[in-house]
Protein backbone atom coordinates (compact mmCIF):
# COMPACT_ATOMS: atom_id res chain seq x y z
CA UNK A 1 0.00 0.00 0.00
CA UNK A 2 2.79 2.35 0.98
CA UNK A 3 4.68 1.58 -2.21
CA UNK A 4 1.57 2.44 -4.23
CA UNK A 5 1.53 5.91 -2.63
CA UNK A 6 5.21 6.28 -3.46
CA UNK A 7 4.54 5.31 -7.10
CA UNK A 8 1.71 7.88 -7.27
CA UNK A 9 4.02 10.53 -5.80
CA UNK A 10 6.75 9.55 -8.28
CA UNK A 11 4.24 9.97 -11.10
CA UNK A 12 3.74 13.54 -9.89
CA UNK A 13 7.50 14.17 -10.12
CA UNK A 14 8.63 13.41 -6.57
CA UNK A 15 12.28 12.34 -7.02
CA UNK A 16 12.65 10.96 -3.50
CA UNK A 17 9.52 8.84 -3.96
CA UNK A 18 10.92 7.49 -7.24
CA UNK A 19 14.19 6.70 -5.49
CA UNK A 20 12.28 4.82 -2.76
CA UNK A 21 10.27 2.87 -5.34
CA UNK A 22 13.40 1.81 -7.23
CA UNK A 23 15.15 0.89 -3.99
CA UNK A 24 12.18 -1.37 -3.20
CA UNK A 25 12.32 -2.95 -6.67
CA UNK A 26 16.12 -3.11 -7.02
CA UNK A 27 16.45 -6.72 -5.86
CA UNK A 28 13.70 -7.92 -8.16
CA UNK A 29 15.22 -6.04 -11.10
CA UNK A 30 18.59 -7.61 -10.39
CA UNK A 31 17.21 -11.16 -10.25
CA UNK A 32 15.29 -10.77 -13.50
CA UNK A 33 18.21 -9.12 -15.32
CA UNK A 34 20.54 -11.84 -14.03
CA UNK A 35 18.17 -14.49 -15.38
CA UNK A 36 18.73 -13.04 -18.88
CA UNK A 37 22.33 -11.80 -18.76
CA UNK A 38 25.38 -13.33 -17.16
CA UNK A 39 27.79 -10.42 -17.22
CA UNK A 40 27.71 -8.06 -14.24
CA UNK A 41 28.41 -4.95 -16.30
CA UNK A 42 25.56 -5.80 -18.69
CA UNK A 43 23.20 -6.45 -15.79
CA UNK A 44 24.16 -3.08 -14.30
CA UNK A 45 23.67 -1.35 -17.68
CA UNK A 46 20.26 -2.98 -18.14
CA UNK A 47 19.10 -1.88 -14.70
CA UNK A 48 20.44 1.66 -15.11
CA UNK A 49 18.79 2.02 -18.51
CA UNK A 50 15.52 0.67 -17.13
CA UNK A 51 15.56 3.11 -14.21
CA UNK A 52 16.30 6.00 -16.56
CA UNK A 53 13.51 5.03 -18.97
CA UNK A 54 11.09 4.51 -16.08
CA UNK A 55 11.94 7.93 -14.60
CA UNK A 56 11.42 9.75 -17.91
CA UNK A 57 8.21 7.91 -18.76
CA UNK A 58 6.55 7.30 -15.40
CA UNK A 59 3.95 10.00 -16.11
CA UNK A 60 2.72 7.90 -19.03
CA UNK A 61 1.92 5.03 -16.67
CA UNK A 62 -1.85 5.34 -16.23
CA UNK A 63 -2.41 2.82 -13.45
CA UNK A 64 0.05 2.89 -10.55
CA UNK A 65 -0.88 -0.70 -9.61
CA UNK A 66 0.61 -1.84 -12.94
CA UNK A 67 4.05 -0.45 -12.10
CA UNK A 68 5.39 -3.92 -11.34
CA UNK A 69 4.49 -5.35 -14.78
CA UNK A 70 5.45 -2.10 -16.52
CA UNK A 71 8.95 -1.86 -15.10
CA UNK A 72 9.55 -5.60 -15.62
CA UNK A 73 8.57 -5.33 -19.28
CA UNK A 74 10.95 -2.37 -19.70
CA UNK A 75 13.74 -4.37 -18.07
CA UNK A 76 13.17 -7.45 -20.24
CA UNK A 77 13.14 -5.32 -23.40
CA UNK A 78 16.34 -3.60 -22.29
CA UNK A 79 18.00 -6.95 -21.58
CA UNK A 80 16.96 -8.15 -25.05
CA UNK A 81 18.40 -4.98 -26.60
CA UNK A 82 21.71 -5.36 -24.76
CA UNK A 83 21.83 -9.04 -25.69
CA UNK A 84 21.23 -8.27 -29.36
CA UNK A 85 23.70 -5.36 -29.40
CA UNK A 86 26.57 -7.16 -27.80
CA UNK A 87 25.68 -10.67 -28.91
CA UNK A 88 26.36 -11.89 -25.43
CA UNK A 89 26.71 -15.57 -24.95
CA UNK A 90 23.95 -16.32 -22.51
CA UNK A 91 24.34 -19.52 -20.58
CA UNK A 92 22.18 -22.16 -22.08
CA UNK A 93 21.93 -25.89 -21.99
CA UNK A 94 23.37 -26.52 -25.43
CA UNK A 95 26.16 -23.94 -25.41
CA UNK A 96 29.78 -25.03 -25.29
CA UNK A 97 31.36 -25.69 -21.94
CA UNK A 98 33.75 -22.75 -22.13
CA UNK A 99 30.85 -20.28 -22.10
CA UNK A 100 29.25 -21.83 -19.06
CA UNK A 101 31.13 -19.66 -16.62
CA UNK A 102 28.98 -20.53 -13.64
CA UNK A 103 28.11 -24.03 -14.69
CA UNK A 104 28.84 -26.54 -11.95
CA UNK A 105 29.52 -30.13 -12.80
CA UNK A 106 29.08 -31.69 -9.36
CA UNK A 107 25.34 -31.37 -9.12
CA UNK A 108 24.28 -33.77 -6.43
CA UNK A 109 21.54 -33.10 -3.93
CA UNK A 110 23.86 -32.22 -1.02
CA UNK A 111 25.69 -29.73 -3.21
CA UNK A 112 22.38 -28.26 -4.25
CA UNK A 113 21.30 -27.68 -0.68
CA UNK A 114 24.55 -26.26 0.64
CA UNK A 115 26.90 -24.75 -1.86
CA UNK A 116 24.95 -23.62 -4.86
CA UNK A 117 23.30 -20.28 -5.36
CA UNK A 118 19.92 -19.82 -7.03
CA UNK A 119 21.58 -19.08 -10.37
CA UNK A 120 24.07 -21.97 -10.05
CA UNK A 121 21.01 -24.22 -9.93
CA UNK A 122 19.07 -22.70 -12.81
CA UNK A 123 21.88 -21.63 -15.14
CA UNK A 124 21.57 -24.82 -17.21
CA UNK A 125 18.08 -23.77 -18.31
CA UNK A 126 17.22 -21.74 -21.41
CA UNK A 127 17.16 -17.94 -20.77
CA UNK A 128 13.37 -17.66 -21.01
CA UNK A 129 12.92 -20.61 -18.64
CA UNK A 130 15.31 -18.97 -16.20
CA UNK A 131 13.23 -15.80 -16.31
CA UNK A 132 9.98 -17.74 -15.82
CA UNK A 133 11.30 -19.65 -12.83
CA UNK A 134 12.90 -16.53 -11.31
CA UNK A 135 9.65 -14.59 -11.59
CA UNK A 136 7.72 -17.56 -10.24
CA UNK A 137 9.83 -17.74 -7.10
CA UNK A 138 9.88 -13.99 -6.60
CA UNK A 139 6.78 -13.54 -4.46
CA UNK A 140 5.60 -10.41 -6.20
CA UNK A 141 4.34 -12.04 -9.41
CA UNK A 142 1.20 -14.06 -9.99
CA UNK A 143 1.14 -16.54 -12.88
CA UNK A 144 -1.36 -14.21 -14.56
CA UNK A 145 1.13 -11.34 -14.37
CA UNK A 146 4.01 -13.50 -15.63
CA UNK A 147 1.91 -14.73 -18.55
CA UNK A 148 1.00 -11.14 -19.47
CA UNK A 149 4.56 -9.86 -19.21
CA UNK A 150 6.06 -12.74 -21.18
CA UNK A 151 3.09 -12.95 -23.55
CA UNK A 152 2.49 -16.63 -22.88
CA UNK A 153 -0.89 -18.22 -22.36
CA UNK A 154 -1.51 -18.78 -18.61
CA UNK A 155 -2.15 -22.52 -18.87
CA UNK A 156 0.89 -22.92 -21.13
CA UNK A 157 2.91 -21.05 -18.53
CA UNK A 158 1.71 -23.35 -15.73
CA UNK A 159 2.72 -26.44 -17.67
CA UNK A 160 6.05 -24.83 -18.52
CA UNK A 161 6.70 -24.14 -14.85
CA UNK A 162 5.98 -27.80 -14.05
CA UNK A 163 8.27 -28.97 -16.82
CA UNK A 164 11.08 -26.63 -15.66
CA UNK A 165 10.73 -27.91 -12.10
CA UNK A 166 10.85 -31.45 -13.44
CA UNK A 167 14.03 -30.67 -15.38
CA UNK A 168 15.66 -29.34 -12.20
CA UNK A 169 14.44 -32.36 -10.23
CA UNK A 170 15.83 -34.75 -12.84
CA UNK A 171 19.15 -32.98 -12.83
CA UNK A 172 19.58 -32.81 -9.06
CA UNK A 173 17.52 -35.71 -7.83
CA UNK A 174 19.79 -38.42 -9.22
CA UNK A 175 20.88 -39.80 -5.90
CA UNK A 176 17.45 -40.94 -4.79
Amino acid sequence: MEILLEIKAAKKGDKQAFNNVITAYERKLYIIARSRLNNNEDIKDAIQETIMYAYINIKKLRDATKFNSWVTTILLNTCKKIYNQKEIKILSYDESEENNLHFKEDYDIENLEENQSFFDIIDFLKPEDRTIISMYYLDEYTTKEISKILKINESTLRSRISSIKEKIRQRYGKEE
Binding site: K15, F18, N19, I22, T23, E26, R27, Y30, I31, R34, N40, I43, K44, I47, Q48, I51, M52, Y55, I56, I109, L112, E113, Q116, S117, F118, F119, I121, I122, I133, S134, Y137, L138, K165, I168, R169, Y172, G173, E176
Partner: protein, 62 residues
Protein backbone atom coordinates in the same frame (compact mmCIF):
# COMPACT_ATOMS: atom_id res chain seq x y z
CA UNK B 1 11.54 -36.48 -4.20
CA UNK B 2 13.58 -33.35 -3.60
CA UNK B 3 11.65 -30.29 -2.47
CA UNK B 4 12.55 -27.96 -5.35
CA UNK B 5 10.06 -25.31 -4.20
CA UNK B 6 11.56 -25.04 -0.73
CA UNK B 7 15.15 -25.04 -2.01
CA UNK B 8 14.58 -22.42 -4.73
CA UNK B 9 12.43 -20.19 -2.51
CA UNK B 10 15.18 -20.28 0.06
CA UNK B 11 17.94 -19.70 -2.50
CA UNK B 12 16.21 -16.79 -4.24
CA UNK B 13 16.03 -14.96 -0.92
CA UNK B 14 19.77 -15.35 -0.57
CA UNK B 15 20.73 -14.07 -4.03
CA UNK B 16 23.90 -12.03 -3.64
CA UNK B 17 23.53 -8.51 -4.97
CA UNK B 18 26.88 -7.20 -3.79
CA UNK B 19 28.10 -6.91 -7.39
CA UNK B 20 25.39 -4.44 -8.18
CA UNK B 21 26.40 -0.99 -7.08
CA UNK B 22 24.10 1.54 -8.64
CA UNK B 23 23.59 5.12 -7.61
CA UNK B 24 19.90 5.84 -8.11
CA UNK B 25 20.31 9.57 -7.46
CA UNK B 26 22.98 9.77 -10.15
CA UNK B 27 20.70 7.96 -12.61
CA UNK B 28 17.85 10.35 -11.77
CA UNK B 29 20.19 13.29 -12.36
CA UNK B 30 21.21 11.90 -15.77
CA UNK B 31 17.56 11.15 -16.60
CA UNK B 32 16.68 14.78 -15.80
CA UNK B 33 19.41 16.00 -18.18
CA UNK B 34 18.14 13.63 -20.89
CA UNK B 35 14.56 14.75 -20.30
CA UNK B 36 15.52 18.44 -20.55
CA UNK B 37 17.47 17.73 -23.74
CA UNK B 38 14.42 15.97 -25.18
CA UNK B 39 12.19 18.93 -24.29
CA UNK B 40 14.66 21.37 -25.88
CA UNK B 41 14.72 19.23 -29.04
CA UNK B 42 10.93 19.22 -29.14
CA UNK B 43 10.76 23.00 -28.74
CA UNK B 44 13.39 23.49 -31.47
CA UNK B 45 11.47 21.22 -33.85
CA UNK B 46 8.20 23.06 -33.13
CA UNK B 47 9.89 26.42 -33.80
CA UNK B 48 11.50 25.14 -37.03
CA UNK B 49 8.14 23.71 -38.10
CA UNK B 50 6.40 27.03 -37.40
CA UNK B 51 9.04 29.00 -39.33
CA UNK B 52 8.71 26.63 -42.30
CA UNK B 53 4.94 26.94 -42.14
CA UNK B 54 5.12 30.75 -42.12
CA UNK B 55 7.64 30.77 -45.02
CA UNK B 56 5.40 28.48 -47.09
CA UNK B 57 2.37 30.57 -46.19
CA UNK B 58 4.12 33.83 -47.24
CA UNK B 59 5.28 32.22 -50.52
CA UNK B 60 1.75 31.05 -51.21
CA UNK B 61 0.30 34.51 -50.52
CA UNK B 62 2.78 36.49 -52.64
Amino acid sequence: MIDIDRILEDKINKVDMSNLKININEIIKNAEKKKNKMYRMQIVSIIVGLILFIVILIQALF
